[in-house]
């Protein structure tokens, strides 16, 4: 009994994590006709398998033009927001980990408050402000809120990493004849890079995932990101959501996440737990 505990547990965890993913993949391969007719069950039944037809349709049918466009928006907006947020957070986290200054507590408290902020309570005024400023329904109109909302996580994760860096090594390098810039670049940057990279992944996840800002601060396909685009996904018949097409689109939007998780599992776990627990 005792020996069985862990294998049973592992099986349960894997089932828990992968079942809905397997289900949406299965759904994405069912033919549109069979879904409209009602096709309960987990796997595509006899004669309802559609192959790649759904994927082909959401990526190239003019009716779903907005979806490839949403992929482009999501990639662009998320990457820019991530890069900028991590740069700004790195400066702050370095200061917090390394320097004594007035206002340190203020930054940390502000970050804590923002992490708890109910996002929806901001979209009304932001909607109004962005329209006045002319950045409603633009990339920049989403990049700014994404940056602000990912800063707390990035600052915590980074300052936790930076505290672990043995800063004395910088001085040791200087003693050995390196200039302070060389010492910083050759010693500290390589040590800090993994932390910065982890913060970037977590920030990217947030931006890729966001829904509230995405639906509130955009109105056309000019800037609408994937999650918002999925929520407004309608096919030829506006009263029947095209489930199998939507599933295909959902699978496509999940691919980047799966790739990042597969490649950087260790870093993500370290980042999540250090940012939130060790802090």
């Amino acid at each position: 009994m005792k020996k069985l505990g862990v294998p049973i547990g592992v099986t349960l965890i894997l089932l828990w994590c992968l079942l809905p993913v397997a289900w949406i993949i299965s759904l994405s391969f069912k033919s549109e006709e069979s879904i409209t007719a009602g096709n309960p069950g987990f796997l595509p039944g006899e004669g309802t398998f559609a192959g790649w037809a759904n994927y082909d349709k959401v990526l190239s049918d003019p009716l779903y033009d907005y979806f490839p466009r949403a992929i482009l928006n999501s990639i662009g907006i998320s990457l820019i927001a991530t890069a900028l947020s991590v740069i700004v957070a790195t400066l702050a986290a370095y200061a917090i980990a390394r320097l004594e200054f007035k206002g340190k507590r203020l930054v940390l408290s502000l970050a804590l408050v923002i992490a708890m902020f109910p996002v929806v309570s901001l979209v009304g005024p932001l909607f109004d402000m962005w329209r006045t400023l002319g950045i409603y329904d633009t990339w920049i109109g989403l990049i700014i809120p994404y940056m602000s909302f990912t800063l707390p996580l990035a600052i915590w994760t980074l300052s936790a990493f930076f505290r672990e860096i043995p800063w004395e090594m910088e001085q040791a390098a200087q003693v050995d004849g390196a200039t302070s810039w060389q010492a910083f670049r050759k010693v500290i940057v390589p040590l800090a890079a993994p932390g910065v990279f982890t913060a970037a992944i977590l920030t990217f996840f947030f931006a890729w995932n966001d829904f509230v800002f995405g639906i509130s601060l955009t109105s056309t396909e000019a800037a609408r990101p994937i999650p918002a685009s999925l929520a407004f996904f309608v096919g030829a018949d506006p009263f029947n959501r095209p489930a199998s097409l939507l599933a295909a689109a959902a699978v496509i939007s999940t691919i980047p996440i799966i790739i990042i998780v597969l490649l950087f599992q260790r870093k993500i776990v370290a980042g999540l737990t250090s940012g939130a627990v060790k802090g």
């Binding site: 828990w16 993913v21 759904l27 309960p40 930054v107 502000l110 901001l122 909607f127 959902a250």
Partner: protein, 313 residues
């Protein structure tokens, strides 16, 4: 580990003049480095929040911007006397209590399994990150289709439920479906935090209790859990506040039908869908205040020491 870094930065040598110059320049550098973060965080939170406070005392609809008129607190009175507001608040608290409680239990079991794991660690941790990383809207759709009686599999897998049972036709089953989606998505985060907490419990103490004849349950309740108290509390605090903001799953799965609308959803509908910026702003302020109350209650009630948990706070 944090103290060493700080100490090298501010050596406690007794050279008053040079030291004060140095600390002054350090002070300036530190403030300059955090300034961009502070400005960015304030642009998107403090300023809009003040603006919401201001707009909330007006009758202001975007479709008729010229008819803006000062109405004092009447938006708040309307909101607080409307049963819809209280239904939404009640259902939001319910979502929060149910999801956090279940996540805590399942998350802890998962953390225990992962803690005991020797091989296949990578596979399990990779899998557990997938729900965490997936777009909430996508998981909402996956579960909505799974519960659908036309296309889903849930009805055929659950023997005590009829094949044509409509999960989204009534409040209770719809709330269950929404909670399932929410719990699926966020349990991994909880379990990773608890796993980090478990790692901090000293094995020696557990062994000592075992030698003293404590049963598995006794070791769990008397040794393991008390020692990871701060990790549990921080996880609960963060998840609870996150759960209180529930929005994506409701938007996707029921669009607020059958009394499943959360307070966030109600606010969104007033502001963005119906363009009632005045009323919506009043709801925004109320939503913000209720989050503050919950944060305060959790911190006081469970005496969460955020300063200790964050080491700096």
């Amino acid at each position: 580990m944090s103290t060493t870094a700080v100490q090298t930065a501010t050596p406690t040598s007794k050279v008053p003049k040079a030291e004060s110059d140095r600390s002054k320049s350090e002070n300036r550098l530190g403030q300059r480095l955090v300034l961009p973060s502070i400005i960015l965080m304030l642009i998107v939170t403090a300023f809009p929040m003040l603006r919401a406070l201001y707009l909330s005392v007006f009758d202001y609809t975007l479709t008729a911007p010229d008819d803006r008129s000062f109405v004092g607190f009447s938006n708040y009175v309307t909101a607080l006397t409307d049963p819809l507001f209280w239904t939404s608040t009640g259902i939001t608290v319910l979502y929060m209590l149910v999801t956090v409680a279940i996540e805590l239990v399942i998350g802890f079991i998962f953390a225990m399994v992962m803690h005991r794991l020797i091989f296949a660690r990578g596979v399990v941790r990779t899998s557990i990150l997938i729900p965490y990383g997936i777009i909430t809207v996508v998981s909402g759709f996956a579960w909505q289709f799974a519960f659908s009686y036309q296309n889903g599999f849930v009805n055929s897998w659950l023997p005590f439920i009829g094949a044509d049972f409509n999960w989204f036709g009534d409040t209770t089953p719809a709330v269950i479906a929404i909670c399932v989606s929410e719990i699926w998505k966020t349990t991994p985060f909880m379990s990773l935090l608890l796993l980090a907490g478990l790692a901090q419990v000293s094995e020696d103490m557990v062994e000592a209790a075992k030698v003293d004849g404590a049963t598995w349950w006794q070791r769990l309740w008397k040794v393991v859990l008390p020692n990871m108290r701060s990790a549990i509390m921080v996880a609960v605090l963060f998840r609870a506040l996150d759960a209180y903001r529930i929005f994506d799953n409701i938007f996707v799965m029921t669009a607020g039908a059958e009394d499943t609308a959360s307070i966030s959803f109600l606010t969104y509908r007033q502001t963005i869908e119906q363009f009632q910026l005045g009323m919506g702003s009043a709801l925004s302020v109320l939503l913000f205040l209720s989050v503050l109350v919950i944060a305060f209650l959790i911190i006081k009630l469970f005496r969460v020491d955020l300063a200790a948990a964050r080491q700096e706070g």
